[in-house]
Structures are given as structure tokens and as C-alpha cells.
Amino acid sequence: MKIIADTGRCVGAGQCVLTDPEVFDQTEDDGTVIVLVSEPMGAAADHARDAVHICPSQALSLVE
């Protein structure tokens, strides 16, 4: 599974970081998403799925 992040859509609410700070981070400058682990496994993969669902701007998607 691979996480695709579209920083152009990201509105920086940080919901992904709250879901799993080991997988996602935000830039200091404009708060947009940084994917720390692009191919998460196990629990991190479940968290990534949650983050995709919760993200308010559809900035995150998964290639399974």
C-alpha cells in the first residue's frame, strides 16, 4: 500500500498527524502534509486508511 498526498489540496488541519504522527507530519511553513512513511505496514496502514477517511480535503489517497 502506498500513500499519495496532494499538497495542493491539503488544507493543513492536521487530522492526519493526529491520526498517526509517525506516518504524517506538517511543514513548519504552510502546514501542508508531509508523508513520513509512504508505504506503511500493519497498524500504521490501518491508521493511514483512517487518515484518508478523516482528511477534510481529499488530499490523501491510497494505492493498494
Binding site: 488544507v11 492536521g14 501542508t32 477534510p56 480535503s57
Partner: protein, 406 residues
């Protein structure tokens, strides 16, 4: 239109059934006709969107505009239209793409999860001082005046660089602006008062901007980029100041009340403070204090949930209804802090989702943990029926919450 709900059968705003439940009509329309026409106070109408899935779809669809200056934008109070004051720049709340993204990003770095964490020790200090004051007072005190309002006001004032000594000035005016029962003139006067105050404050900061506060940092940063605009910073300051204290204050009061009347839920947090953040998501869902702020106007024909919303028609994406939709939350009318309610829409959804949500979460977490740890015997001092709920305001909450500390 066919169906049980004809145009103007229902007129907004509707009253909450009780302080802990949405208007009963929400359930009725969600089941019978989940996207239906409702009347507005100015005699026009809008589509009420009531299902969780449809609310999310609508709020993340760029064909719905947030521009409150659009003459077709649905208004829940007469005379509410923004830009009555021609000098007042649009806030990010009212901007659409492509204007919205860069404007939001200019300030987003101030509100990241990490930036909020850096504020934690100072917020803890502020909360401790307020709880000290509560404990020092003998007998009955008002939790709203002593804790709920001062904590977020102090925090937002420090963050922005607004002198806290002026808090009475803008708290009184914010309350007037957010009331549904004040006259348009009274609301306008309150609005102009706060804008005038911030206009002066920003002008003062422009002379010697400090990187110790958000407004100063914006001036420095945007000047360097060559994009600084006085009026736009005044609008931003206005939005952050108004949104930053009243909302969180109401959630502090309501959360305290909800936990005190559900002792078995409170016991879960007391036993494991690691649960507080999960509990907060559930409390946010349960109360959804900003219900119908998420109005929009269609700028193209859009099909949602099988209904075609035509260009220039307004929608009210009802977050409170979405957050009590049984297809998204099992037994939605129950407060169940263990449920994992993170997909609630209490902070809105889409590009405009609340900018300050992680600050709000942190303030709530620190207040709840500190309050119940330091005052385990906290009690509500009056019968629930006597509590003054804000039934007449845009943002739900409590005007006062009398408590005793021992």
C-alpha cells in the same frame, strides 16, 4: 417538490429539542427527505442537508461557494450579510478557490499540531491559575466567568498579541454579534466596534512588529514577501479573535456539564487520562455547537444524494444532524466517549474546516484533565432546568454554569 416537507413547512433556525439533542425535525427530515427545502428568516429558502455522507460531500465540493457577499448566500439572520462595512476585507471563511488556499496557508503554519504542542506548557499555566482562583473562592462560583471564557480568551490574546486587559471590550461585542435576537443595528455596531479596535491595534503593530506574536509575525513575513495588506490582517485578526474564544468557551462549559451528569463516563477519563482526547471528539460530536454555520451557495448545478441543487440555490449543511446520523454513528444520541468519533463534522469539513481545531482540542484536554484532577468534588450548584443555555445564539453553549468546588 413532493414529500412530507414542503417549502416553508420548516423555518430556520429551529430550536434544539433539549440542550442535549438536536431539533427533533432533523431526525424527521433525515429519514423522510434528507435533502429538503427549508425557510429562512428573510423569507427565502435553502436546501437543508442532513445526512453525514451528504454533508461531507457538499462541504468538500468546490461548486458550493462560501462567499457571504454572494446575493444568493443563505442567511440565518436578517442583516447578516458580510461587507456591510465596505472597509472590511473578506475573511478566509468567505473565500473560494483560488483565493482561499494561499490566504489560509499564509497563517496555517501558526496552527500546526506541532506549533500547538509548543504552546502546551503556557496553556497549562493559564489553566492552573484559573483553577487556583476557583479553589480560592468560597462557595458557589460561575464556571463560565471563572474558567470557560478566560482560558481561551487569554490563550488567543497571547497568541495574537492582543492585550488581555481589553477582553471585556471584545467579549461583550462578540456575544452581541453572535446573538440571534439582537437587532441588525446592534449587531452591526458591535461588529464595527471590534473591527475599529483591531484596526488601531494592527496600525500600532505595523510601526514596530514583534515576532513574539502572530499579528507581528504576519506583518514581518508578508512585508518580506511583498504581499502585506493592512485591511486583510485586520480581517484575519477579527476572525481569529472572535472564533478563538467563544467557541472553545462553550465547549468547556458543556463538556464539564456533560461529564458531571454522566459520572460513569467521567470515571473512564479519571482512570485513564490517555482517554481524554478520544472523549473530546465524542463531546464535540455530541454538542456540535456551531451547527448551521456551514451554509453555502451553488455556483453550478450539483447533484448530491439524488437531488439536483441548481446554480444560485443555497444550502445549509447541517453538522449537528450529520453528527447524529445513525448511519455514521451507532446509537448517535448516546454520549459514549469510547466510540472513536473522529469522523464527526463538528469542525466542519472540506477546505474551510476549522483552522484552530488543534488549539481547541488542546485547551479542552488541559482544562478537563486539570479541572477534574484538582477539583474532584466539583458539583453543579443549581438544578439543570435552571441552567441558562444559549438558545438564542449562533453558537450553542451556556451563559453561566454555577458550581461548587467542595
Amino acid at each position: 417538490m413532493t414529500g412530507v416537507m414542503e417549502t416553508a413547512d420548516l423555518s430556520f433556525p429551529l430550536a434544539r429539542e433539549c440542550p442535549f439533542s438536536p431539533p427533533k425535525e432533523y431526525k424527521e427530515i433525515r429519514e423522510a427527505e434528507p435533502i429538503s427545502k427549508v425557510g429562512l428568516p428573510d423569507g427565502t429558502w435553502a436546501w437543508a442537508i442532513t445526512r453525514h455522507e451528504d454533508v461531507r460531500a457538499a462541504l468538500s465540493d468546490p461548486r458550493f461557494s462560501a462567499d457571504r457577499t454572494n446575493p444568493n448566500f443563505p442567511m440565518l439572520v436578517q442583516g447578516q450579510r458580510q461587507n456591510q462595512n465596505p472597509d472590511f476585507e473578506k475573511t478566509i471563511l468567505s473565500m473560494d478557490a483560488p483565493e482561499h488556499g494561499p490566504a489560509r496557508r499564509a497563517v496555517l503554519g501558526e496552527f500546526t499540531v506541532r506549533r500547538m504542542e509548543a504552546l502546551r506548557p503556557r496553556i497549562q499555566e493559564i489553566v492552573d491559575e484559573r483553577v487556583d482562583a476557583m479553589l480560592a473562592a468560597d462557595g458557589e462560583i460561575d464556571l463560565v466567568a471563572e474558567l470557560s471564557l478566560p482560558v481561551p480568551s487569554l490563550v488567543i490574546c497571547e497568541l495574537l498579541g492582543v492585550p488581555y486587559s481589553d477582553h471585556d471590550f471584545f467579549q461583550v461585542r462578540t456575544a452581541a454579534m453572535l446573538s440571534r435576537t439582537r437587532t441588525p443595528e446592534a449587531r452591526r455596531e458591535a461588529f464595527d466596534g471590534v473591527v475599529g479596535y483591531l484596526d488601531k491595534l494592527v496600525t500600532t503593530k505595523e510601526a514596530a512588529p514583534s515576532d513574539g506574536d502572530l499579528l507581528g509575525r504576519q506583518i514581518i513575513k508578508l512585508r518580506e514577501e511583498g504581499t502585506y495588506h493592512h485591511g486583510k490582517l485586520v480581517s484575519l485578526a477579527f476572525l481569529l479573535l472572535v472564533a478563538g474564544h467563544e467557541t472553545t468557551a462553550n465547549m468547556i462549559s458543556l463538556s464539564t456539564l456533560a461529564l458531571l451528569r454522566n459520572p460513569e463516563q467521567l470515571a473512564i477519563i479519571k482512570a485513564d487520562p490517555g482517554k481524554t482526547l478520544v472523549a473530546i471528539e465524542e463531546l464535540l460530536r455530541y454538542f456540535t455547537i456551531v451547527d448551521a454555520a456551514t451554509a453555502r451557495v451553488a455556483v453550478a448545478d450539483v447533484e448530491i444524494g439524488g437531488v439536483t441543487i441548481k446554480k444560485d440555490e443555497g444550502i445549509l449543511a447541517l453538522g449537528y444532524s450529520a453528527n447524529r446520523d445513525p448511519s455514521a454513528f451507532e446509537n448517535p444520541d448516546e454520549l459514549d466517549i469510547d466510540r472513536g468519533a473522529r469522523h464527526h463534522v463538528a469542525f466542519g469539513f472540506g477546505a474551510h474546516q476549522c483552522l484552530g481545531q488543534n488549539l481547541a482540542r488542546m485547551e479542552l484536554q488541559i482544562v478537563i484533565d486539570t479541572l477534574f484532577k484538582r477539583i474532584p468534588e466539583l458539583k453543579i450548584a443549581v438544578p439543570e432546568t435552571e441552567l441558562p443555555f444559549k438558545d438564542d445564539a449562533f453558537i450553542f453553549g451556556l451563559y453561566a454554569l454555577p458550581v461548587t468546588c467542595e
